[in-house]
């Protein structure tokens, strides 16, 4: 087989795979802009041939508050309950931002300690962190929930930030340790000689120098927390005023399982932020993934 034919074969195979991968997302995206009756009775692939009608109504309804009015195909005005995903959208941000920053700060300090300080138990503690990397968080659900019930943290944002901090720490410490331990000793030495305190060295040298690793980790943790369902279900509870997007979507699947016009719009609302983060910071994300795989 000559090179040109091979290139065509390879690109065709890739194109087929990419189309298969992309079709599910395309179907969701197009359907979310089609009127209810069309979504429910015709395939989304007909939207460009015979049923060329698009609307923003689905988004208005899922984002809107508790009541929503629309005019159906027969001209009747229908009052329906909206899904108030805009509230869940804010909740998701409230849960996610501190759940990303707090563990990274604590992990960075620990990674610096492990990498550049000598203390008894150092190896034992770090080995424990490595062991904890794969412990399923399911193990913590009941005991932590009990603690939370005692101190009144169930259904609170503080509780879920701490939970995400706890569950995110092993990987965060491991990743940041790998990075911080490779910073050349000479960089710290002059600071130590000048009599700088460790905390100053940490804040002025270690944190700024670790920005690339922190960025990868932040994206990783952001996607994990934003997309999480289980931790939110257990520690945040189901009330609508605190529920995050994934919880609201799971509820919508249960209560509106056949309302495809709303489910598609809702799913897209939940995907906008992670997709934006993903495409704008893909390079850091890939670097984080590489560092995160526990290599031999």
């Amino acid at each position: 087989m000559n090179n040109r034919k091979a290139a065509i074969a390879i690109n065709t195979a890739l194109l087929i795979l990419v189309v298969i991968w992309f079709i599910p997302i395309l179907g969701l995206f197009i359907s979310s802009f089609r009127p209810r009756d069309y979504v429910l009775t015709t395939g989304w692939w007909t939207a460009f041939t015979k049923n060329r009608i698009f609307t923003l109504d689905n988004y208005r309804q899922v984002l809107g508050g508790t009541k929503y009015t629309f005019v159906d195909a027969l001209g009747n005005t229908v009052r329906s309950s909206g899904d108030n995903l805009s509230q869940a959208f804010i909740n998701s941000f409230t849960v996610t931002i501190p759940s990303v920053i707090i563990p990274i700060l604590i992990a960075a300090a620990a990674a610096y300690g492990f990498a550049w300080m000598v203390f008894p138990g150092r190896k034992f503690f770090f080995t424990s962190v490595v062991a904890l990397l794969v412990v399923p968080l399911q193990i913590a659900l009941i005991p932590i929930l009990r603690d939370y019930q005692k101190i009144g943290l169930t259904g609170s944002y503080l509780g879920i930030w701490l939970a995400h901090t706890g569950f995110g720490l092993p990987l965060s410490i491991y990743l940041l340790y790998n990075y911080i331990s490779t910073i050349p000793r000479s960089i710290f030495e002059s600071a130590y000689l000048d009599g700088a305190r460790q905390i100053v060295v940490f804040a002025r040298l270690v944190l700024p120098l670790s920005i690339p690793a922190i960025a990868s980790l932040a994206i990783f943790q952001f996607l994990w927390v934003w997309n999480d369902l289980l931790v939110a279900l257990v520690f945040l509870g189901g009330t609508a005023d605190v529920a995050v997007l994934t919880q609201r979507l799971a509820t919508m699947i249960g209560s509106r399982g056949q309302d495809w016009h709303l489910l598609t719009a809702g799913a897209f609302v939940s995907m906008v932020v992670p997709l934006a983060v993903f495409f704008s910071l893909q390079r850091y994300f890939v670097e984080g993934l590489m560092a995160g795989s526990v290599k031999g």
């Binding site: 690109n11 195979a13 795979l17 991968w21 599910p24 179907g27 979504v39 395939g43 989304w44 692939w45 509230q87 804010i90 941000f93 931002i97 501190p98 707090i102 700060l105 604590i106 300690g113 300080m117 203390f119 190896k123 770090f126 080995t127 962190v129 490595v130 062991a131 904890l132 990397l133 412990v135 399923p136 399911q138 193990i139 659900l141 009941i142 005991p143 932590i144 009144g152 609170s156 503080l158 930030w161 706890g166 410490i173 905390i199 997309n227 369902l229 279900l233 994934t246 799971a250 699947i253 399982g257 489910l263 809702g266 799913a267 939940s270 993903f278 795989s293 526990v294 290599k295 031999g296």
Partner: protein, 355 residues
């Protein structure tokens, strides 16, 4: 007042002030019903500022001690907070869950191994073991297989980055979001009506009968596993792709000069070279498959024979409130990951990180 008394007073007052600030923030955030956005902003400042303040105060305190003691305590200022949180959130819960697993639903009466007997004999549990095995084998095999295939193909294409971006994109999507995407792909309408799901549209186009895919056991598990493959192949591809770039061109050239065809080069040179990467990627996806919850919870809720370990555990805990069984199943999950944990620790020991 002499200086020593002043020093002691300050050493007590400063930490107390810090604790007061942290406690006030804690109570405020726990009880507040104020505007959401404002609360979030205060929360971020409290969380981040509080952590920083705590570090600073403890460090300040330690540095007021005699130098030789300070030097000994200093490292724990840095690693201490992380170790305490890990202790509270992962280490102690493992022990506490083990303890609870020997007690009944309400954790009052000792029941011996009854919960473990349940975990290994109950019909739903046995079903979930079978299904998790399917998830592990097909989910991991599918993700790593497609990841490898696409990485190999993309490396030989000029449009490598575009192709890879699209395959990688689902990594950013939640399991719940992916659930909705694929429920729509699998959507079912009775025969004779227009199909709105791609799969049934294809089936009817080729003259078949439309199917309610999620109700056909045991194949419905495979339809769920496809979602995982769709999500995770991109991850496998990215890691494998970077390993491929590390295979020395000379070895591949040498193979070709010896007359090896492309497939032979891949099988005998490239695969052995990236073997450890393949193991790493597979391990990661095996663990994801083992803990799989969101997809099953949102798609079928474990009905029609699709139960997995994590979904049974969730039901035992939060629907039947049987903390004993829930804990026992969690312990089973931990036992299932111990081989991987052991492997990681062995690899870690080999690296000789602490020289």
């Amino acid at each position: 007042m002499n200086t020593k008394a002043k020093t002691i007073a300050l050493s007590i007052l400063f930490p107390l002030a810090t604790l007061a600030i942290l406690a006030t923030g804690f109570v405020f955030l726990r009880d507040t019903k104020g505007p959401q956005v404002l609360t979030a902003v205060i929360a971020i400042i409290w969380g981040v500022g509080g952590a920083a303040l705590l570090f600073y105060t403890v460090d300040w305190l330690v540095n007021r001690l005699r130098p030789e003691i300070a030097r000994k305590l200093q490292p724990f200022v840095f690693v201490g907070p992380a170790l305490l949180i890990l202790l509270w959130y992962l280490v102690l819960p493992t022990i506490r869950s083990l303890y609870l697993s020997f007690f009944d639903a309400s954790s009052k009466n000792f029941v011996g191994l009854a919960n473990y007997v349940f975990a290994f004999t109950d019909g739903k549990m046995l079903e979930s073991f079978r299904n998790n095995l399917m998830w592990i084998i097909l989910g991991t095999g599918g993700s790593v297989g497609f990841g490898l295939l696409i990485a190999l193909l993309a490396e030989r294409s000029r449009a490598e980055s575009v192709f890879k971006s699209i395959i990688f994109m689902p990594m950013a999507i939640s399991f719940v979001g992916a659930g909705i995407i694929w429920r729509f792909v699998y959507a079912y309408k009775p025969a004779g009506e227009d199909q709105i799901g791609v799969l049934n549209a294809l089936v009817t186009f080729f003259g078949g009968e439309p199917q309610a895919w999620f109700t056909i056991a045991p194949w419905n598990n495979i339809f769920l596993i496809i979602i995982l493959i769709w999500l995770q192949s991109g991850y496998a591809m990215v890691i494998i792709s970077s390993a491929l770039k590390g295979v020395p061109a000379e070895i591949i050239e040498a193979g070709r000069i010896d007359g090896a065809g492309e497939l032979r080069v891949i099988r005998s040179i490239i695969i052995p070279y990236i073997y450890s990467t393949l193991v790493t990627v597979s391990t990661t996806i095996v663990i994801i498959s083992l803990k799989i919850f969101d997809i099953v919870f949102t798609m079928t809720n474990g009905n029609y024979g699709t139960e997995v370990i994590a979904s049974v555990q969730y039901k035992q805990m939060f629907r039947f409130y049987h903390y004993g069984r829930g804990s026992a199943i969690a312990i089973v999950l931990v036992l299932a990951v111990t081989p991987v944990m052991w492997y990681n620790l062995r690899q870690f020991a080999k690296q000789e990180v602490f020289k």
